[in-house]
Symmetry: C2
Subunit: 403 residues, 2 copies
Amino acid sequence: MINPGDALNIIIEEAKLLSSEEKHILNCLNDVLAEDIYSKDNLPPFDKSAMDGYAIKSEDSVNCSEENIGGFKIKGLIKAGDFCEEVIKAGEAYKIMTGAAVPQGADAVIQIEKVRTEDETLYLSEAVKKDNNIIKLGEEIKIGDLALSKGTVIRPVEVGLLSSLGYEYIKVYRKPTVALIITGDELVDIHSQIQKGKIRNSNEYSLKAMLKNLNCDGLSLGIVPDNKEALKEKMEYALEHADIVLSSGGASVGDYDFVRGILEEIGADIKFTSVAVKPGKPLTFATIKDKLFFALPGNPMAIINDFQEFVRPAIEKMMGKSQIFKEEFPVILADNFRGKAGRQKYLYVHIKKQEGSYYAYKAGSQSSNHLMTMSRANGVVIIPKGCENVQAGECFNGKFIFR
Amino acid sequence: MINPGDALNIIIEEAKLLSSEEKHILNCLNDVLAEDIYSKDNLPPFDKSAMDGYAIKSEDSVNCSEENIGGFKIKGLIKAGDFCEEVIKAGEAYKIMTGAAVPQGADAVIQIEKVRTEDETLYLSEAVKKDNNIIKLGEEIKIGDLALSKGTVIRPVEVGLLSSLGYEYIKVYRKPTVALIITGDELVDIHSQIQKGKIRNSNEYSLKAMLKNLNCDGLSLGIVPDNKEALKEKMEYALEHADIVLSSGGASVGDYDFVRGILEEIGADIKFTSVAVKPGKPLTFATIKDKLFFALPGNPMAIINDFQEFVRPAIEKMMGKSQIFKEEFPVILADNFRGKAGRQKYLYVHIKKQEGSYYAYKAGSQSSNHLMTMSRANGVVIIPKGCENVQAGECFNGKFIFR
């Protein structure tokens, strides 16, 4: 039984960055950029008016005041999208709309609210500073500047930035294909009635939903009966067609648990076969060439916990993320929780913020088959291996789940 | 100019819960349940073994000890999925695998690691308590019990729970259809070269990406020229086909900004036309029957800020979410930031946790056209309306963005 920290180190060491692929920017949300993006333009591409107003030469307004309101000849109107070919001369002004290109020769825009016009003449009651209300050419980014570095996670703002720079397709790291093998003669389809001794195949759905949450495709190979030959065939197929293979159930020491034996037969490098965590102890991790194999436990809560703690970080590292661990923070227990020493315990709890601190409330039985408890929980509190029962008022690290 | 809190209250008041629809559970992630879900079964549906071991009558083991190792007749093997029709009798045991149904008459399972067997006989060196290693019928949930209430957000664990209960399709609230109208003669397609006076249409991509981030479909009506008739036609079409209409640009006081005039013509109830926030002041909100219309500003950073602060909460309320505001927390400024009084300012910053506190570092110019700054930011600090320049060391509320 290996410690969870050591288990994670081994997994992370084996999870290698995948190749990159070119995708449309709108299909890249949450992907990781696999190239540096340089600007091919100046942004803005011209001196731009930040306001609706009048473009003038600022030096012309030096003497303007309440008493001396000047008088500029309004030459015309520049709308956003227009380009004025004329060069503005002393004593001239152009009416200009927000976002429009400032005419050549002008170096300031005075807001429409601050002026008075009469016929074709503009009157100012104050001096205007150079560059007033002008967004300068290249102020945001210049040709050749680095806009986004390799490794950046694509969020909506990066989609906006890339489109403003004219990038419609970008290179991002490929996400792993994850094959699912569900074993167990006790399993029936979720739309079936439960017959004697059987339960519904919920693990496949939990796994598919967790993969979908990471925008990963699950390659489901369905329920495989507890039959060594059938299982071996599926495992070999999965290893050929996926980057990561997850099996559910069939990894404890029972007579009918073949996964480990098959892994040995096919020459997998078995790194560990159980981890000192609760729930989720029966977790086997193996590598076969560059493929990762996780034999996950069959208990519904254990499989979700192991996926979140051990599989998710591997997936995120392979797709190029640098922040693969969720932020932990101190959580004060609001209830007592029973436990035994020997394994690191993940208590599924309801975390509430009260007066600036986080408190953990009971969400139900911590038995590893209880999805009801996990469904009532919004977080976990992590109780170290050495601890037994823990009491209200004690403080441990915790984190939120599924967000 | 309305205060942001008042603006939000008006929007939230007008954003009404949409109707529900039936969907496959794997397509419901992040949706909100529109019905109560009751269990149609007991879970587990039988007394289930939590371990690989031997099922016995616990009373038979009362006198077992290191010295008195008893001797039980092993009657057979029960695998997961099997159902044993025999009733166990005094002095008998069944070998049983994890997840298998405990045979009738047995009330305890002793782990395989704790016993010794010889031929068909089981020897125990300790007494076994009643219910040891047995997950009792209905322990997780009983027939008719409430499993999930209306209003629950569907996460992977709820998908797992629903499948274990045999629910493949569920009723969830519909998400709003959101139509996008992008105005501006200055806009060119993102794959175009920028000609004089033009910029690329990045706002449409930012909006589509933000909608996708909420799993909402955007109904894009493309770039509409600054022409009142064309715009009116698009607006009417959008209001007919969508629950929410977003327009970008064209809502300031410029001569070529028609949106507000059209809203009045078509009888919309205009609730406000500007909000005291920076960036994002030129925001118009109107209702037409049960439809919501947001005229968003054209500046790239302003439109994203307004979407996150004012549109997102409306969408989330309409799809049934009860927690529609992001968690704010105290953030200490690590840099000085310049600002004017008069509007609530959203400073786009890099928030770092240091020794248990959050600190905000400059990410670049806060000018409302700078997507580069927003791209370097992972959060905002919210500076109240009355504040001007703020100094390193001062503490304000902040929150993370895009997560």
